[in-house]
Symmetry: C2
Subunit: 328 residues, 2 copies
């Protein structure tokens, strides 16, 4: 109702002034998905309506892998880890005797994963630990500048979703605070989140390994240690949201079963809430996968979406553009 009224008003104003009112989501095709987003935002920001929420409580949380950027053929951070093992290998001749690290050096993901989680952890630790946070971030920055995605030939941070960039900007323009709540590493995401998404480091929540405080020649720094600290996935997401944000979000955006509890926590709060799932349905422009995928599996959350009132984005149908570089 609110949305219809303001749409009619917008048309009236644009006719009156002879200037078209700017669409905040130009890369979203007209349809129920786009309407659901606009309607929700209009209702919680309408100071005269019964669903008004003050700006301080307009918290929007976004998963990253598969929600803000692509995650195929594997999580980009895992590609970073494998590239990093390869880059460091000349300084570690002993790694060739380690089957997991040897597989990582060869870019043999199956080989790494054949040792289960322990293999993956070994690769993550040798590529992410043992250096200061500053040095780690510099290494990721260098990698982002040079590495290219095997299919698109683009830098990984160009493989972000144009419709989601518009959504982030639109929400912030409407007084929302936008946060990333990702299973990916918090220090990794922070390297590009501010420039690419407009999300500053303090609004990035993610998984972490432990850190140690140390002092050398008068300067204090933090060294990343080879031990898990927190996995920000599944039930870990609402726990991390409470710890880092301290408020139940008003809106949550995800794409996989890893986001299920975040969606539940968000949308079972009192008053009007919003949950959205990005469904990867576009084999041509992006990828098509859901229930059977090892990466970004979307199964339980999809089953619960309708009853929970979550909006499901059909990427193929709802997105006019997928990546920003399509607009070049």
């Amino acid at each position: 109702m609110m949305y219809l009224r303001s749409l009619l008003l917008a048309v009236a104003v644009s006719q009156l002034s002879g200037v078209a009112v700017a669409d905040p989501l130009p890369s979203w095709n007209t349809g129920l998905t786009k309407s659901a987003i606009l309607s929700f935002v209009e209702r919680v920001t309408d100071a005269d309506g019964g669903n008004y929420v003050p700006p301080s409580e307009r918290i929007a949380v976004f998963d990253n892998d598969g929600t803000l950027w692509s995650e195929q053929p594997m999580y980009f951070q895992l590609i970073y880890a494998l590239d990093r093992v390869r880059a460091l290998a000349p300084q570690h001749p002993e790694w060739v005797d380690n089957p997991v690290l040897k597989a990582a050096m060869d870019g043999d993901v199956e080989g790494v994963l054949s040792n289960g989680k322990a293999g993956l952890m070994e690769v993550v630790m040798v590529s992410h630990a043992g250096m200061t946070v500053e040095d780690f971030k510099a290494a990721v920055r260098d990698w982002l500048a040079k590495a290219r995605h095997p299919r698109s030939g683009r830098a990984y941070d160009e493989m972000v979703y144009q419709p989601m960039l518009e959504l982030l900007s639109y929400l912030r323009a409407e007084g929302f605070k936008t946060f990333i709540v990702s299973g990916g590493g918090v220090d990794f995401i922070r390297v590009f989140a501010e420039e690419v998404y407009g999300i500053p480091p303090e609004r990035v929540v993610g998984s972490s390994i432990k850190a140690a405080f140390e002092q050398a020649s008068g300067a204090a720094s933090l060294r990343k240690m080879p031990a898990l600290d927190f996995i920000d996935d599944k039930a870990g997401k609402p726990i991390a949201i409470n710890l880092h944000i301290g408020r139940r979000p008003l809106a949550a955006f995800g794409n996989s079963d890893g986001d299920l509890q975040m969606l539940q926590y968000t949308t079972t709060g009192t008053g009007l809430r919003f949950g959205l799932i990005v469904r990867h349905s576009d084999a041509e422009r992006e990828w098509i996968y859901d229930r059977d995928s090892h990466i970004g599996r979307l199964d339980k959350a999809l089953d619960q979406a309708e009853a929970a009132g979550w909006t499901v984005v059909d990427m193929k149908r709802d997105w006019r553009v997928v990546y920003p570089f399509e607009l070049e």
Copy 2:
């Protein structure tokens, strides 16, 4: 230099317009401490100067107990815990057989602490765990509304420092993001930080106990569990700053050895940085304690202050007003 120039300019402008330029820190007495604060802020915000820092990097971190509010005769959160044990005791007749909880019920702090850290932890757990985060916050809110400080007779959240409230507002007006980084419990502080300090929940970093995600009759919530998660004190402070804020702060404000590593981490960053220690030197209006105090011990950090270039506030000398209620 910068400060002197702008001070002269301010005088000139005020004479020109016939209107006095507002002092952003009226409760701070004129002197070296106040000048050091103003000079630092002017230098990092002067876009034409060599020390300019963009707003996104203007991170200021504040300890809470003894830095933003009083902490005597004991941490206010500990008083909450003892009051809470007493309030819950009628529902737990078995507690009288537990020496620690019996001591807590009697308000016998010595008795609680005679069992070492284990005693303290037991009191913290029965008073802070076993309920949802929402219920915990409601209980703290109720307590704050009713409980009164034994000496001042004031609500605990009235025992905040007027000069620090002005400093928080001044820094935010100058584009800083202000954070609390406290050894106190993060969920406890969030109950009053937004209203009292203007610091929203997502900018409060603190100690925590574990939480569990649960669903009951369709609603998701988080339950506080009787297990430690993180102690945000000493070396824990820079670690938490990196995890929650993701940037080395530009300025740090503390009052005890628990803030030493936060001060070191902040002020050994590149470029101009600022460290400040509040020294409790006013027996009449507040309290006087430092090296020998069990609460808020200030010893090592005081020894290092001069060489590190940290500004030490002498509460008695530097503060014209201590508490806001003095202005009533």
